[in-house]
Every structure is written in structure tokens, then in C-alpha cells.
Amino acid sequence: MNQVTEAYVTAHQNLAQNLAGQSVAWVRQMREQGLSRLQTAGFPTTRDEAWKYTNVRPITKHRFTPATPQRDGLSLDDTRRFALPGLNSHRLVFVNGHFSQALCDLSGLPEGLFVGSLASALERDAAAVEPYLGRCAPENSHGFDALNSAFLTDGAYIRIDSDCVLERPVEILCVSSSDGEDLMNLPRNLIIAGAGSQSIIIERYVAAGGARYLTNSMTELFCAADSTVEHYKLQQEDINAFHVGGLYLRQERSSRFTSHNIAIGGSLVRNALYADLADEGVECNLNGLYLGTGRQHLDNYTHIDHSKPNCTSREFYKGILDGRARAVFHGRIVVHADAQHTDAQQENKNLLLSRDAEVDTKPQLEIYADDVKCAHGATVGQLDADAMFYLRSRGVEENAARSILTYAFANDVLERVSVAPIRVELEKKLTSRLLDGRHLENPS
């Protein structure tokens, strides 16, 4: 156990009695298990297969302080600037991982939708949470997830009743606000989509200040039978921030899940998604887009467990890297012996805009059933020289031609984004970060 881990154990001893629901035996036990897992497993290293291309030393050499609720933190005006125009969401706001009732917009909640903070659920109604919390995440978790579980106390708690069809998306806005004290935000979100329900959930990570901090988030999402869930994760952390986040998903019979995993901010980022296709007839679509510049390191790890027959999974991740940015795509698909008639496809495409940008892409298929359809493909390339010349020969200047082709590369991921205000935001970010700020009409 190194000094940093020891410091977290000490911090835990000091904090534990103040954490929500600590009087509840199973909650206390879950935290203790997390802590002991952290002590035994430690933080992952590049010797771990799943972390081969991502060295987390820049994170683990620091001792971060678990953030506590701020007394006079952000104002409504501070958070309004993060609103996506036209989104019209049910908005839950968390500051450094802690629920902030005053900053939320929860007017007009429909019947059948419950939204609130996990902390208050643990205090008031822990029994309702017990069948779900921690049930999606694997027991042999890595150090970061163990750390999250050790300190788990707050985050979004969203429950959508059976057959409830949500007209507006639910937004979880996680704002980091730190003044250079090396804070650690540990949001733990729990989302339960009831049978036959339909919903759009948007998880966003933004920063109100520019200090170094760590977001170490975990989201557990249960899709009951026949439910349809579209999940967005927009990671727009500060450029100095560290972000290690995991989405743990369980899908029941004939549920349909689509995720859009967007990584834009952060200096060192790990974005993991674990999907357990736990029953028959499940459809799981994982889309991703990562845009790296400067010295950013953006790691995408996905793990799909095809546990039962007749399930379909589609993965489509694209990355655009400029400067000295580095990215990882590691897509693991396990088709278990029982999962006959699995149809799994994985595609990862990368565009390198500079000589110094780098990407490691690693498909990992493990197939134990014999009657399955699995395919994967990965590409890494530069802008097509012939296409560049073609555009220039039509009078388009070189820089504009680069921008058009870069935009075009991202387009098939953007087109999958069904929520227009998010698509607009992504187009803006693409423009400001990779197209020299040049405004460009969508070329498609």
C-alpha cells in the first residue's frame, strides 16, 4: 500500500461517520469493502491488460481530498452558463459530486419519474436502493472504482416507473468547482429504468474553475425488460483535470440501450463502459467520439458481456487527434457459451491530424459460443490526400479543406446524436478545438 492509498484510508476514517447512510449496515459494509479492495488491489498499472496504454501515475502520485458539500458555492447564474440551449431537461446539479437542490431545475416532473440525490435516498429510504446499488459493478473492481465505493455518498438517483415514457431528457450536470486544493469528486449515480419505460439520460461533466482536480465517477444503470434508454455522457472537464469514469450497465430481456460517449476535456481521461447483456433479445448500441488536442490522453475502454442468446451489440467509436494527443480504444467483447445467435459488431476509426498524435486501438473478442456473428474493424489514418486535392481544385483553400474533411469524418457519429441541442454543442466543440475556430456549416 503506498502513501497515497494510506492517505485515503486515513481520510476515510475521518469522514466515514459523516457519510450519508453510514448507520445502515449494508451501506457501511459496501464502503468498507471498497476500502479494503483499494488496499489490496491498489491502483491499476500498465501491467494490467485493461490499462496497458494508460499510465495513471500522474493521478495516483497526488493525494486528492474528497470534496465535501460547499456551503456558499456556485450561484444559479454560475450554472446557467452550462445549460445547453433548447435542451429543456429535468436538470439535477451536483457541485463537486454533491447534490445542490438550489441549482436544479425540477419543475414539471411527470408522474412516474423520481429524481433526487443518492445521499438523501441512503438516509431516508436505503431499502429501496439496496437491490440496485453496487449490483451492477463487478466485485473485483480496480482501485478507482474501489475508491468511489469507499467514499460513495452522493450522486444522482433516478427511477423511472414501468411503462413511463419521458418526454424531456433527464440531465445530470456535474460541475467541478475548486480553487487549487486538489479536490476529488466522487459522484455515484444510480439509474433504474422500469420495464417498458422510455427515457433519455444525459450525464455531463463541466468545470467552473481551472484548478487541477480528479473526477472519479461511477454510474450504475439498470434497464428493465422492454425498456428503451438513450444515454449521453458529455465529458467536458477542465483541460487540467483528471477524469476516471465508469458506466455499469445491466440490460434485462428485450431492452434497448444506446450510449453516446463523448470525451472532449481533461488532461488524463479514462472512460469505461461495462455492459452486461443479461437476458435474451437485448439490443446494445455504443457510440463514441473523442476529440484530443495538446497533450491530452483519452482512454476509452468498453466491455460487453453477451451472457444470453439472441442479443445484438453495435459499437462505433471514432477519434480525432491533433497536437501530441494520445488516445486509446480498447473494446472487449465476451460471448459466453450460452449466448448463441449473438450478433456483435465493433468499429473504431481514428483520424490523426498531426504527426505527433497517437492512438492505440485494440479489439478483444472472446467467443465461447459456436453459432454467433461477430465482426470488428479498426482504422487509423490521416486526411485523404486525394480528397484534399479535389477540394482545393474546386477553389477551397487548404485550411478550409482540412476542416471540411475533419468535420466530415466526425459526421457519422454526430448524425447518431438524436438530441439536437447536444449535436449543436458537439459541432461547436469540434469547431473550436479542431477547426481553428473556423465556423463551418455542416458539410453533410
Binding site: Y390, N442, P443
Partner: protein, 257 residues
């Protein structure tokens, strides 16, 4: 309009063009013919400014200015249009977007305002009819999944919208059936005008039945070995290229049997 003098070009240190001289005046249509590997497409690509073609000697003047020092996009804005032999597919960029970007680049260069969206659509749809393409072509990605003939017609559509001063058609006839060939030729003919010049590169005489050239140049081994009027094309049609490759026919008797 275009004056090429002693143009010598290498690709990967291999000489391809070994001294081309020709002059194209406004209002004229010149055909460049020749067997495969004679340097026809190299000449077209040098005029368009493609990378990898190294000019080792000679010059190209376009409207009195050194063409070779201009970037490809500058050439386009100065009114040069190249219809490519193999138009590239550009997924994610729609035809209409490219047409508009190209037209507006030219307009800005001329000091004009960008074209109004409604006017543009009216203009493009009218041109689309001329090449007998359906409206949905506008909204498809540039050349993606187009047949060979559709790609060539798409080049001609761009030419119609951009109304160039000098058009270079590089084997636009290859991959076209006779109906499509007629459509393309008709459109090219409507663009003929006293202010406009065209260079038509082709392997076959067939296209020149429909686009009748003022002059025909025969290229072989990187040189123009013969120039003449349209009857030269017919001569090539009946005799083939062998007499050129083997030198003048009267001094090289055919060995048969």
C-alpha cells in the same frame, strides 16, 4: 489564354513530359490524344496543380501569368476547372455543400457576395437538369457510391455551376455509355463561347464526334508528335496509335504474318 512552352515534368524522378509546346486561345477547343502512358493525364494534372509532378523545365502561362506558382485553389478561383479522370469519393461531404463552397470561393475572389441560399438552389437545380441527374444527387456525399458514369456527370455538373474560363477534361468519356456521352458532350458544347477555352484529353476519337475540336494534338512519349485539325482524330481512329509509337508510318513498314 494558355501558353505552354517546353514543359518538362518528372514524377518520382522519371521524366514523363519531355518538352510540350502548345497554345490555346480563348474560344478554342483543343483535343489531346495519345496512347496510354503518353503523358496525357500528367499534362492535365500539372495544369490543375497536383502534388508530386515536378516541373523540371519550361513554363505555363495562363492569361499572361505564371500558372505554375499558383496553389490549386488559386488556379480554380482564377477560372481553371479540371474534370478528373477518377473523381474521388468524399464521405460526409454532400455534393451541394461542395458546389456551394466552390462557387462562393470563386465569388469571394471576384469581390462578389456569397450567393443567397435560395438563388443557389434554383441555379443548381437548373444545372442538374442539364446533366439529367436527380435532385437527390445533391444531398448525397460527393461521388460516394456513384457509378462511373454518374461520377463523370457530377464533374460536368460542377463545371456548369462554376463556369470556368479554362476547362480541362481528363478522359471524361471513359466509363460513359453512348447516351451519357451525348449528355456530357451536349453540355460541354453549350459552354463553348468566345471567352472560354477547353482542353479535352481523350484516348478515343468517339468523344470528338460530339465535341468537335479546333485543334488536335497527338502525344507520345511525353512529346506532341503531331498537331492538326479535327481530321487528325479521324486518322487516328482508322490507323490506331501504332504508327506513332513506332515512328512515322512511311519509314516503318508493318511487319505482318
Amino acid at each position: 489564354m494558355l501558353r505552354i512552352s517546353n514543359l518538362q515534368v518528372s514524377v518520382n524522378d522519371k521524366p514523363i513530359l519531355n518538352g510540350i509546346d502548345m497554345e490555346v486561345k480563348a474560344g478554342e477547343v483543343h483535343a489531346i490524344m495519345g496512347p496510354n502512358g503518353s503523358g496525357k493525364s500528367t499534362l492535365a494534372n500539372v495544369l490543375a496543380g497536383r502534388e508530386g509532378y515536378v516541373v523540371t523545365a519550361g513554363e505555363v502561362l495562363y492569361r499572361g501569368n505564371n500558372l505554375l506558382e499558383l496553389e490549386p485553389e488559386q488556379r480554380a478561383r482564377e477560372g481553371i476547372f479540371m474534370a478528373f479522370q477518377y473523381p474521388v469519393e468524399i464521405p460526409g461531404v454532400s455534393n451541394i455543400y461542395l458546389l456551394k463552397a466552390a462557387l462562393n470561393a470563386a465569388r469571394r475572389h471576384q469581390g462578389l457576395e456569397e450567393i443567397d441560399a435560395v438563388d443557389f438552389l434554383t441555379l443548381v437545380k437548373q444545372k442538374l437538369k442539364l446533366v439529367q441527374m436527380k435532385d437527390d444527387f445533391l444531398y448525397r456525399s460527393v461521388n460516394e457510391g456513384f457509378s462511373g458514369g454518374e461520377k463523370k456527370r457530377n464533374e460536368i455538373l460542377q463545371m456548369l455551376v462554376l463556369e470556368p474560363r479554362l476547362a480541362v477534361l481528363d478522359e471524361t468519356d471513359s466509363g460513359l455509355d453512348i447516351d451519357a456521352l451525348k449528355i456530357v458532350a451536349d453540355v460541354v458544347n453549350t459552354l463553348r463561347s468566345p471567352e472560354r477555352a477547353m482542353v479535352v484529353v481523350t484516348h478515343y476519337q468517339r468523344l470528338l464526334d460530339y465535341i468537335v475540336p479546333d485543334q488536335v494534338h497527338v502525344l507520345a512519349n511525353g512529346r506532341i508528335v503531331k498537331s492538326g485539325d479535327k481530321s487528325l482524330a479521324l486518322e487516328l481512329e482508322s490507323q490506331g496509335y501504332s504508327w506513332i509509337e513506332q515512328g512515322p508510318s512511311e519509314s516503318t513498314p508493318m511487319i505482318t504474318g
